[in-house]
Amino acid sequence: MSEVKVHDLTKTFGRVTAVRAMTFTAQAGKVTGFLGPNGSGKTTTLRIVLGLVRPDAGTALIGGVPYDRLAAPRRSVGAVLEANGFHPGRRARDHLRVLADAAGIPRIRVDEVLGQVGLAGAADRRVRGFSLGMRQRLGLAAALLGDPQVLLLDEPANGLDPAGIAWLRGLLRVLADEGRTVIVASHVLSEVAQTADHAVIVSAGQVRFAGPLSEIGAAGNALESAFLKLTAPAG
């Protein structure tokens, strides 16, 4: 199975504890919304899961294996962490070829994913001229390159226009329905409320709620009021 299991994760940067004894599981076939205010430890958690940041304690496993032990990481996990991980002078297609080369992914996948994210027409343009939305799509294309069973997306709707957000929502639904594990970190609740099956709500590096979104309630602003209550600073 390709579930993502985070257990008792703790990470301190200097005097700031970014993640505190965090535990949750994201299941295959579901979209898990990873929600929390800015600075609540979402991005740090994702970076630990991806082996970029070393935790002080705890484990993060993908299908039972830490990221750096995966035999073919890009074929197992796709990630979008920031909309700006591009060399401005490199063309979109070349950006993906660099990644495909390193992962031993056939070149034909590059054009497939460019088409999938709607960038086929911009493939030979340098990223310098891309809008934030286009960069977001290119990041998504990179994540999809290895046809992975697990997708970790940090604020993927950032910079997308309304049509783009609707498209992204549909894409995430399809990917989860194909049996993949999809984790979407966001602080934009409305975007997640319409897509996610499960929610993990964090605040100050700790999990405040983990479970099916339906438990929070189906009312229009139920998620928002639950979110505000769960993430309100103590005292």
């Binding site: 940067f13 082996g51 660099v98 990644l99």
Partner: protein
């Protein structure tokens, strides 16, 4: 390892910056040799001829900066995240970069050498000097120059991995060459100063063809440079493996 080497090469071949930077090396050689002749260098003196060819080692300034871009440039543009996602074994990434950047450094040194030979020959025939330098001596100078270009590229990769901030890494490297090594040399005395990196590169590239200076012998300079390249490469590996990429 081969996929990572291919990926590193594609990173280089799909942007223009590194090639513009490396093109500055041969230009420096042309300007340097022309300046040497125009400022009254005696074209009948074999020492001057050797000095002309020794400009190849000076062009290594650009392979040094080129090397710094390998890792620090990835931090600058945020591409380092994707690089480590493709290969969580970061030691392999640094090894692939060292291999590719050293090879390109060698190519840059060879181009600078060819340009140095051509420009020297052109000036010598224009000024009516005869080519008196023995072939063996010419090749020794050029061979040393190419070696310096390779070593500086590798050292640059190490500096960039250690410092990670591109602007600070380049400023520190240039400051060392222009200023700090001179001061450090005075502090440690000339016996030890010969072993400092830029002095070692001067020795390896035979910038003192007259033989009157206090540099190491050529082989000593080359050995010292190789030592620096290894030290920086190991430091790059150790720090890169451990650091958080946030």
């Amino acid at each position: 390892m081969l996929p990572l080497i291919r990926s590193e090469w594609r990173k280089l071949s799909t942007v223009r910056g590194p090639w513009l930077l490396l093109a500055a090396g041969p230009l420096l050689v042309v300007a340097g040799i022309t300046g040497l002749v125009q400022s009254g260098g005696d074209v009948h003196d074999p020492a001057v001829q050797s000095k002309a060819l020794a400009h190849v080692a000076l062009a290594a300034l650009f392979t040094l900066i080129f090397g710094i871009f390998a890792v620090a440039g990835e931090y600058r543009h945020g591409t380092v995240t994707d690089t480590f996602l493709s290969s969580p074994g970061r030691g392999r990434v640094v090894t692939a970069k060292l291999a590719v950047y050293a090879a390109v450094g060698a190519a840059a040194g060879l181009v600078s050498s060819a340009v140095a030979l051509a420009v020297t020959a052109a000036w010598w025939s224009a000024k009516g000097g005869s080519y008196q330098l023995s072939a063996a001596d010419s090749w020794r100078t050029l061979g040393g120059g190419v070696a310096v270009n390779i070593a500086f590229a590798a050292i640059g990769v190490g500096i960039g991995a250690l410092v990670r901030n591109l602007a600070i890494a380049i400023a520190a490297a240039l400051a060392w060459i222009a200023l700090v090594e001179g001061i450090a040399g005075q502090l440690v005395g000339s016996g030890l100063a010969r072993w400092l990196p830029f002095s070692a590169s001067q020795a390896a590239g035979r910038a003192d063809a007259a033989g009157a200076s206090q540099l190491l012998p050529q082989w000593g300079g080359a050995l010292a440079l190789a030592g620096y390249a290894v030290v920086f490469a190991v430091a790059a590996m150790v720090t890169t493996l451990r650091r958080d990429v946030t």
